[in-house]
Amino acid sequence: MHQERGANRAMPDAATQLDIYRRMIRIERNDDATIRTIKQGRLQMPYYSARGQEVIPSAVSVNLNPDDTICTIYRGIHDMVAKGVPLRPLWAEIAGRVTGTCKGKGGPMHITHPESGVMVTTGIVGSSMPIANGLAWAAKLDGSRRVTVAYFGDGASNIGAFHESLNLASLWKLPVIFVCQNNRYAEHSRFDKCTAVDRVAKRAGSYDMPGETVDGNDPFEMYAAAREAIERARDGGGPTLIEAITFRFLGHVFGDDDKYMDKAEKAAAMARDPIPAFRARLLESGVATEQGLADMHKDITAEVEDAMQFALGSEFPSVDELRRDVFATEIAL
């Protein structure tokens, strides 16, 4: 059921376009500050930047409600920011502080913030999907219209959990949307060298669910695909697989070199930076003004700076935390 793109697809209105863009800038400003702070030696953490992938969760999240849930992965801070995790506790978590979302016990690869619907962030490739199914099952049992989004990478589509999850989701008609952020690499392995199909979305056919490949750097395409999938899920129509083609500008992990990449391929991908492209489009169509965007940029930069200061000024957790939260009640084993 490889979907054809129809002419009359959902279009984001002006306010929604600005909303998507604002989320993208929050992600980008946040990423920029994170890298700066790591370089200054003030943050010690493995950092999986999603620079270049900002459109995907932003265009998805404008279609989600606060009580819709997501499960994401180690490269997922963009997904969390887009879903609405407040920056102060987010920063405190990546800094390992007790004021963090998880009291500093999860860290950047494992941020959880149920209040904003971020239920699980996993460091295990492929593991966002089986759990997303369960959240969707709960929503269905509740008789609610909540949906769950599972984010994962191209590499994760080769792990068994992906296939088990798509099969079960389709069989049980679960309100779940599988969003594959195909950034063309899994660590240092190029997509086509480890994947037997040229499009992850084709795999939806094996599980009899709609699947579509979209330009994950195009906010309009991404919005339309996400909106249709989310509405279908809310209406009881079951799951969708969306493959969003994108690129990660900063390699696998901070400090990565790019020896494994084809130089021309990288240059071409970098030339398609989604942020200036969307900005130009907003200005050209009159949805935004230079001044408006400059103000937005300034406000968000200040918000990120505040979050960073808050985090670095917070206390570390006490060692008692090692015994807490292992079980609901402290048990000395």
Binding site: K103, H110, P130, G134, A138, G160, A161, L333
Partner: protein
């Protein structure tokens, strides 16, 4: 006048516990391979009748997808439910290890206490049924070694019921082990059998000369040994651990303090087993009071074999328990 009882085997006791929990709490749901009635209500009938009584939405047969089963249980738990996931046999948990060990066990801690995963994963296992190396392992030490999992291994129908009720109600993930050898023996279960606290051992028989600690199927073996020892004039105290993690240190240490001797018995391979942990704890706490070395009995360092004589040699026999006790009686 004793309280009214009903004769039932362990499977019926588990079934009764799940039914009771499902009737009391609409958030209790069940999933697993073949668990619904059209598929037979479980491979040995543990869940028979439940889908008919509680509906197809709450009792769901699944594809053969262990990761998807445990993942769905975890997600539903995060969504406010109390799922019971059946993994047909303990060896098949290996397929779902990521979901169990990296996720179910750790989400509470790694989320700083925000997430809870009140799931019960129940499974059959045990040697003795000629199923060989991939259908009979006792892997409880693996799970007990993972912070965040509770591991329960009952030996008699009343405990199966009481402990299953507690696992379902528990706010944390529980591994519930059903030992093949204990499943089909009917015993009286009090009609009002309620939850049995996790982490509480049961002193099956009091004694003064030696403490024997066993759990799961090995309680049957240990009972026979205790009888034989009595014939030889040795008074053994038999403790059924019931919960492997967290295990009842207070009960075991109090008993060994009294007897001065301990023999630990499990079906799992002896090396790096639960017995080693208990032995080390006893030595650390009671070194000066011991009248002999703590002995551990378990399977030899071998996969579960097929051929009958090998399988018999693999399983600890009552005579081996007797011999171990005699060796420490001095």
């Amino acid at each position: 006048m004793s309280a009214p009882t009903t004769k039932m085997n362990a499977l019926q006791a588990v079934n009764a516990a799940i039914a009771e929990a499902m009737a009391a709490d609409p958030k209790v749901i069940l999933l697993g391979e073949d668990v619904a009635d059209p598929e037979g209500g479980g491979v040995v009938g543990t869940t028979r009748g439940l889908s008919t009584r509680f509906g197809d939405d709450r009792v769901k047969s699944t594809p053969i997808s262990e990761q998807a089963i445990i993942g769905a249980a975890i997600g539903a738990a995060l969504g406010g439910y109390r799922p019971i996931a059946e993994i047909m046999l303990m060896n098949f948990t290996t397929i779902a290890m990521d979901m169990i060990v990296n996720h179910a066990a750790k989400l509470r801690f790694m989320s700083g206490g925000q997430s809870q995963v009140p799931i019960t994963i129940h499974m059959l296992t045990g040697a003795g049924a000629s199923t060989a190396g991939q259908h009979a392992d006792h892997l409880e030490a693996w799970f007990a070694h993972t912070a965040g999992l509770k591991v329960v291994a009952p030996s008699c129908p009343a405990d199966y019921k009481g402990l299953m009720l507690s696992c379902i109600a528990d706010p944390d993930p529980c591994i519930f082990i059903e030992s093949m050898r204990t499943l089909f023996v009917p015993e009286d279960v009090p009609d009002d059998q309620g939850p049995i606290e996790l982490g509480r051992a049961n002193i099956i028989q009091e004694g003064n000369d030696v403490t024997i600690v066993a759990y799961s199927g090995m309680v049957i073996t240990a009972r026979e040994a205790v009888k034989k020892l009595a014939e030889e004039g040795i008074s053994a105290e038999l403790i059924d651990l019931r919960t492997v993690a967290p295990w009842d240190r207070d009960c075991v240490l109090a008993s060994v303090r009294k007897t001065g001797r301990a023999v630990l018995v499990h079906e799992a391979v002896r090396s790096f087993g639960v017995g080693a942990e208990i032995a080390a704890t006893i030595h650390e706490a009671l070194f000066g009071l011991l009248k002999g070395p703590v002995r551990r009995l378990g399977a030899p360092y071998s996969p579960v074999p097929f051929s009958k004589p090998l399988e018999n040699a693999f399983l600890v026999q009552p005579d081996a328990v007797v011999a171990a006790v005699l060796s420490v009686m001095g």
